[in-house]
């Protein structure tokens, strides 16, 4: 009984989240500009991937970014494209 309650609560949370996905997916997609600024796209990738767990780093030099990104590529399972674009954002 208690197990069912726990599972029900979790499924409710999941359904609530998926509702948000449906609504967001239903929105008309904006037409992408011909040439996307890679730094802007990198910021989006950062927010979508890294921003799920922590705030953006405030003080990070271009020398340090690559090692940190390699670390996060493993930890957060970033793709090679994610790594490249986020590097453009953090170390333009």
């Amino acid at each position: 009984m208690k197990a069912q309650r726990a599972i029900s609560f979790f499924l409710t949370l999941l359904a609530f989240s998926l509702t948000g996905v449906m609504q967001s997916t239903a929105r008309p997609q904006q037409t992408a500009p011909a040439k996307v600024d890679e730094s802007v796209e990198g910021e989006k990738r950062f927010a979508a991937n890294c921003g799920r767990c922590h705030q953006p780093p405030q003080d990070i030099s271009p020398r340090e970014v690559k090692a940190v990104l390699r670390h996060m590529r493993v930890r957060a399972m970033l793709s090679a494209e994610d790594e490249r674009l986020i590097l453009k954002f953090l170390a333009p």
């Binding site: 989240s17 948000g20 996905v21 979508a48 799920r52 767990c53 780093p57 090692a67 390699r70 793709s79």
Partner: protein, 368 residues
């Protein structure tokens, strides 16, 4: 220190099944040999990436059911990229625990050094990364992603944290992970690992294998996934779990939750955080504030020994506040109320954390 007292006072991920701990250097020798081999075979000195030392320092004050404790914690992380595909990464946690020895007695201190991970990563491509060494056990998301003190919002770990992370939260063995399928609208990621039983003082781990799979919708910033683990020693039990992580793109809301089940017990936690930078009408002074809320329940299904789970059904609710200062400093305060048949309790926590990042000193082309 008695394990029960330590579980109440320290975060759950600090729990160690001490019966497995005895000095051993076999595994560590093998690991260091592996790292040394990789260092020698890679053009590390010619690369543009510099090794860095990162991590965090924190100082925690807690009052848990009337028991006061002070805990300074230092967690250095060393990252050494080797060429374009390899990375050696290592992290230790150096934790002090200062508390009164009796109700009105003098404060006494203890020190707990642990090695969280020391691993060699081979990034083959976006679909496959091979990891060897000691790594954080990938069960659900808390242990791997939310473990560092500068990331998680409540310094007390979830009640269900010990499920799937036995024996120490780390595993010694091998792991593969990556994106199985990657499309613009969704990504399917996976992790699979095997861990050997290790009795090393700083390398304790249980014999187990497990897997985790998740679907991530980047536009919606939503990820859902499931975990499974087979514990291959003692009672040889199965644990499984599910998780959700959602940060709607249009707000500063952050929602996370986990469910986990083991033969000894099951439960869930759900957490919400809202960064007030998303509420412009409050003014700029409030933009660094982040109210927090967490609810969790645990249901004891069977008696267990050394499972580090609550001994009885437990419910808990937490309220907290983060304040983000410049230069990676974060202030945090929280209050929790726990309800259990073994006794209700209040938990107060105040802490400050600082995250640092700098090129590794004493390394060629490292620190300036």
């Amino acid at each position: 220190m008695d394990s029960k007292i330590r579980f109440q006072a320290a975060p759950a991920w600090k729990c160690v099944e001490k019966k497995y701990l005895s000095p051993s250097i076999g595994f560590s020798s093998l690991l260091f040999g592996l790292v040394f081999l990789a260092l020698c075979s890679s053009p590390v000195l010619a690369q543009s990436e510099v090794p860095v030392i990162s991590g965090s320092f924190g100082f925690l004050y807690s009052k848990d059911d009337g028991q006061t404790a002070l805990q300074p914690i230092l967690t250095p992380v060393v990252l050494v990229p080797l060429g374009s595909h390899f990375l050696v990464e290592a992290s230790a946690e150096l934790q002090g625990y200062v508390a009164p020895s009796s109700l009105h007695g003098p404060y006494t201190g203890q020190f707990f050094p642990t090695i969280e991970y020391i691993q060699l990563d081979y990034v083959v491509n976006s679909h496959l990364t091979i990891v060897a060494g000691r790594f954080l056990t990938p069960f659900n998301i808390y242990n791997e992603r939310l473990g560092p003190i500068w990331i998680h919002n409540f310094q007390d770990g979830p009640l269900i944290y010990p499920i799937g992370t036995r024996t120490t939260g780390s595993s010694d063995g091998g792991m593969v992970r990556g994106d199985l399928v990657s499309r613009p609208g969704w990504q399917l990621n996976y992790t699979a690992f095997f861990s050997a039983l290790s009795n090393g003082t700083y390398f304790g781990s249980g014999r187990a294998f497990g897997t985790r799979g998740g679907v991530f919708f980047p536009r919606q910033r939503l990820e859902v996934g499931m975990s499974f683990q087979r514990f291959l020693q003692d009672e040889r039990s199965n644990s499984y779990g599910a998780y959700v992580s959602w940060q709607p793109a249009t707000t500063s809301l952050d929602i996370k939750g986990e469910y986990a089940h083991s033969p000894q017990g099951e439960g869930y936690w759900a957490e919400a955080a809202y960064r007030l930078s998303g509420a412009g009408w409050l003014g700029s002074g409030m933009k660094n504030l982040q109210p927090l809320f967490r609810v969790q329940q645990f249901f004891r299904l069977a008696p267990g020994t050394n499972d580090f789970l609550p001994t009885a059904n437990t419910q808990r609710v937490d309220f907290g506040l983060n304040y983000y200062l410049p230069h990676e400093v974060r202030l945090n305060a929280s209050y929790g109320r726990q309800f259990s048949s073994t006794g209700n309790s209040n938990n107060w926590t105040v802490d400050v954390t600082y995250r640092f990042l700098t090129p590794l000193p004493f390394w060629p082309k490292g620190a300036p």
